[in-house]
């Protein structure tokens, strides 16, 4: 014990005399970034693109590890149990909060400490090119005029998108059947063949159909218009007070020192502002929304409370 504290003291003294070094050099290498998504999946691609730009700035190497199983619970548990030395992080998305709420995993979302939020994924409402609807307001008006005839679709049953559509029904005061699917592909088929009035999803999921002119965007559920689609009105502008926030960030085990957290915030801010990275995430219409640790903690907490309330209203959880 004694020897340990002596070593710790020596370490502190070293840090105290070398403040500049402590700020510029990241203490651990390689840094492991864990995701629940499989190679090629959303978070996996996010991490691999991010690390390409992080490596030169932070001067350490990164490893992306795909820990699948338990709808994200396995990856969360692995990171929660790792040493809080800044060497292991988990790529957060709303999934890890939902999994904690829907089941009783060994370690829930509270077991991790958010360190940064990097992006927000905008959600858009889209329909097929042949559809009579030009805007979200059109589709809502149709639903109002034909009670019980409106058909909307979301990719997964317990997803943020499903919650968004249920909230849309309530906000707009209309009735509609909300069909859920086994992923974005199934949903796209039912939008393209006209089974559904519209679907909800991320730009990236519908990009190929959008480029080919097979689907049309009706509205976006963000506060501001997207830079890539300046002509696309937000739901708010169309008189429907609904915004949906889907986020991407990093979280680590509890007890990561403040200087490491601060270093992440500075680095992420710098990387997100770089032109090379901008060009890449711009293609996916990701909206940069960098938050440091304190902000990210509050944001995640608020998000979890919102989702809990929404899932309760849907009757999914008690």
């Amino acid at each position: 014990m004694k020897r340990l504290s002596v070593v710790a003291l020596a370490g502190l003294a070293f840090l105290a005399t070398e403040p500049v070094l402590a700020q510029t050099k990241y203490p651990v290498s390689p840094v492991t970034l864990v995701t629940h998504s499989s190679p090629g999946g959303g978070s996996d691609v996010f991490l691999r693109e991010l690390t390409k730009h992080l490596t030169p700035v932070m001067g350490v190497s990164f490893a992306v590890e795909n820990v699948r199983g338990g709808s994200g619970a396995a990856a969360v548990a692995k990171v929660a149990k790792s040493a809080p030395n800044g060497g292991t992080f988990y790529a957060t998305t709303p999934t890890y909060i939902q999994t904690s709420l829907l089941s009783k995993p060994e370690v829930g979302y509270e077991g991790l400490d958010p360190i940064v939020i990097v992006f927000l994924d905008p959600e858009v409402i889209y329909t097929r090119a042949e559809s009579p609807f030009k805007t979200l307001a059109d589709a809502i008006a149709h639903a109002k005029a034909n009670p019980g005839k409106a058909k909307w679709g979301a990719a997964n049953p317990a997803s943020l998108e499903r919650i968004a559509l249920e909230r849309l029904k309530r906000t707009a005061g209309v009735q509609a059947a909300v069909a859920t699917h086994e992923g974005g592909g199934d949903l796209m088929i039912n939008v393209l063949n006209g089974t559904l009035d519209f679907g909800i999803g991320e730009i990236q999921e519908i990009r190929s159909q959008l480029d080919a002119g097979k689907v049309r965007l009706l509205g976006v559920l963000t506060d501001k218009r997207l830079p890539d689609f300046p002509q696309l009105a937000t739901a708010k502008e169309q008189g429907i007070d609904l915004t949906v926030t889907k986020f991407r960030g990093l979280a680590g085990p509890k007890g990561i020192p403040d200087d490491i957290a601060a270093q992440w915030e500075t680095t992420i801010r710098a990387v997100v502002a770089s032109d090379a990275y901008k060009a890449e995430y711009g293609k996916e219409s990701l909206v940069p929304a960098v938050m440091g640790r304190a902000e990210a903690r509050a944001f995640t907490q608020r998000f979890a409370v919102d989702v809990t309330n929404n899932l309760k209203e849907l009757g999914v959880i008690k």
């Binding site: 820990v67 338990g70 709808s71 619970a73 019980g148 069909a179 088929i189 063949n193 559904l196 009757g315």
Partner: protein
């Protein structure tokens, strides 16, 4: 086509055959394991590599299906029926040869369909509404009666248990977790591959342990035998059936190789001149499913390339491969990256040829391996199965599921309950349930929706006819 593309194709096929032959490693997992290595490759080579893994794995899955009654992949389950019977009669080499050549026929046919008919077939995929998918699943389930090997009641019971297993996980409509007992491991449901590995591989090993040492090595044909002209003459019709069904099932997203193989087996038996040989080592019973599941390696790419919609897990991994290289499959792919599309066609053609060459080389050692003394072999296979399952997600839970399914499978064999209907139930349960309920959500609870949709009506009528025919055949006085 460059040398690197050819090498990617060859490497993919070899990796695929081994991955497919390992029980527990499905084609999509074999592909996903390679995905991280494709980051630095040329886009064409990366896509060809992944697609070739798929081709190789669909063939590789039939090797353990024939030799040790354990399908290496989901879609090789139907091959176990007659393939293993042939192996027991000492005709393993012949069965493997038929599987290989039928796979080649199927693979090339599927590729031809992909090249020629992608555009019109994309329309077929879009014609499938939720009611139509429900009907498609029912059509698949109509095969149960013919898989029940004599006891219809036991077959129906097994299928019901399979359907019940498929209800574990997140409710497809409300999102409420069902039968998960609070465990996050079960939120995503029980994967069919785990059930199958347990029911086939583990149960077979338990069964073998209880039997006296086998006399397998005696008087056995341990050499690969390519089908003779007489065999070709007998199998061309079932290969034709396999081609037709494989095209249909591959093009409709969500159906896939497993159902294609089962339905092809069923139809081959119906149209055969020797239906009595099925289940007792029929060459046609090996040719039909093996041809069908290789057709799917080509046709499953139709919705992916034309619509950007992955129709199976393997296609989803391939989609990931496209996206890593900044390519987005879909209507614009043919304009934006024609070199990748045509490179993929050429690579798939090469992969089918390589499949035969590699297959010829490795079959003899495989057969030799299976004829080693029983205690070694059983220990080796069980170790292989366990490490394969564990490798997927490093999950001890999955391992427990597999071993549990193995004990159940062993019990089913003791009591003469057929396992294939159960497998079919697990594979199709979710498709049937989710589309049934989705249809009703959309129709406001009106069941007439299943009769109003023309595609659904046609498929349901076909299912009814097939069931009645099978029942008549099973129940008629012998």
């Amino acid at each position: 086509m460059g040398l690197m593309t050819l090498l990617a194709s060859l490497g993919g096929v070899i990796w695929g055959i081994f991955g497919g032959a390992l029980p527990g490693i499905s084609p999509s997992i074999a592909m996903a394991l390679l995905l991280p290595f494709t980051y630095g490759m040329e886009p064409v080579n990366a896509i060809v590599l992944l697609a070739s893994v798929y081709v190789g794995a669909e063939y590789g899955g039939s090797i353990p299906a024939i030799l040790i009654r354990t399908p290496g992949t989901n879609s090789a389950a139907a091959t176990t029926i007659d393939g293993y019977e042939m192996a027991k009669m000492g005709r393993a080499g012949e069965a493997l040869g038929i599987s290989l050549m039928s796979g080649l026929v199927g693979g090339l046919f599927g590729l031809a369909v992909l090249i020629v008919a992608t555009e019109p077939l994309a329309a077929v995929a879009l014609a499938f509404t939720p009611p139509a998918y429900f009907a498609l699943g029912i059509l698949g389930l109509s095969v149960i009666a013919s898989l029940s090997s004599g006891s219809l009641l036991k077959g129906l019971f097994a299928a019901l248990v399979g359907l019940m297993i498929a209800t574990v996980g997140t409710d497809p409509v409300s999102g409420v977790p069902r039968f998960t007992m609070g465990s996050p491991e079960l939120l995503g449901g029980i994967r069919p591959i785990l059930v199958m590995v347990g029911l086939f591989a583990v149960a077979e090993m338990l069964d073998q342990i209880s039997l006296p040492a086998w006399d397998r090595t005696e008087a056995r044909d341990t050499r690969l035998k390519l089908p003779s002209l007489a065999v070709w003459r007998r199998t061309w019709k079932c290969q034709l059936i396999g081609c037709g069904i494989g095209t249909f099932e591959g093009v409709t997203p969500g159906a896939g190789g497993t159902i294609a193989a089962f339905m092809a087996y069923n139809e081959a038996r119906r149209w055969s001149k020797h239906p009595e040989e099925f289940g007792k080592g029929s060459v046609e019973g090996v040719a039909a499913p093996e041809c069908a599941n290789n057709v799917v390696t080509g046709t499953a790419l139709v919705p992916l390339l034309s619509l950007g919609i992955p129709g199976s897990n393997s296609a989803a991994v391939l989609l990931g491969g496209f996206m890593i290289h900044g390519l987005m499959p879909g209507p614009m792919l043919f304009q934006k990256a024609p070199d990748v599309v045509y490179g993929l066609y050429a690579g798939l053609f090469a992969a089918n040829i390589f499949m035969v060459l590699v297959g010829l080389v490795i079959l003899t050692p495989c057969i030799w391996l299976v004829n080693r003394p029983k205690p070694y072999l059983i220990a080796f296979i069980l170790a292989l199965v366990c490490s394969g399952v564990f490798a997927i997600d490093q999950s001890l839970f999955d391992l427990g599921l597999v071993l549990g399914a193995g004990v159940i499978g062993y019990g089913m064999r003791r009591f003469g309950v057929p396992v294939l209907p159960m497998v079919l139930g697990v594979v199709l349960g979710f498709l049937v349930e989710s589309n049934y309920r989705r249809s009703l959500v959309l129709s406001g609870g009106d069941h007439l929706v299943f009769l109003q949709d023309k595609v659904a009506l046609g498929l349901l009528l076909a299912a009814l006819l097939l069931t009645l025919y099978s029942l008549w055949r099973e129940l008629k006085p012998k």
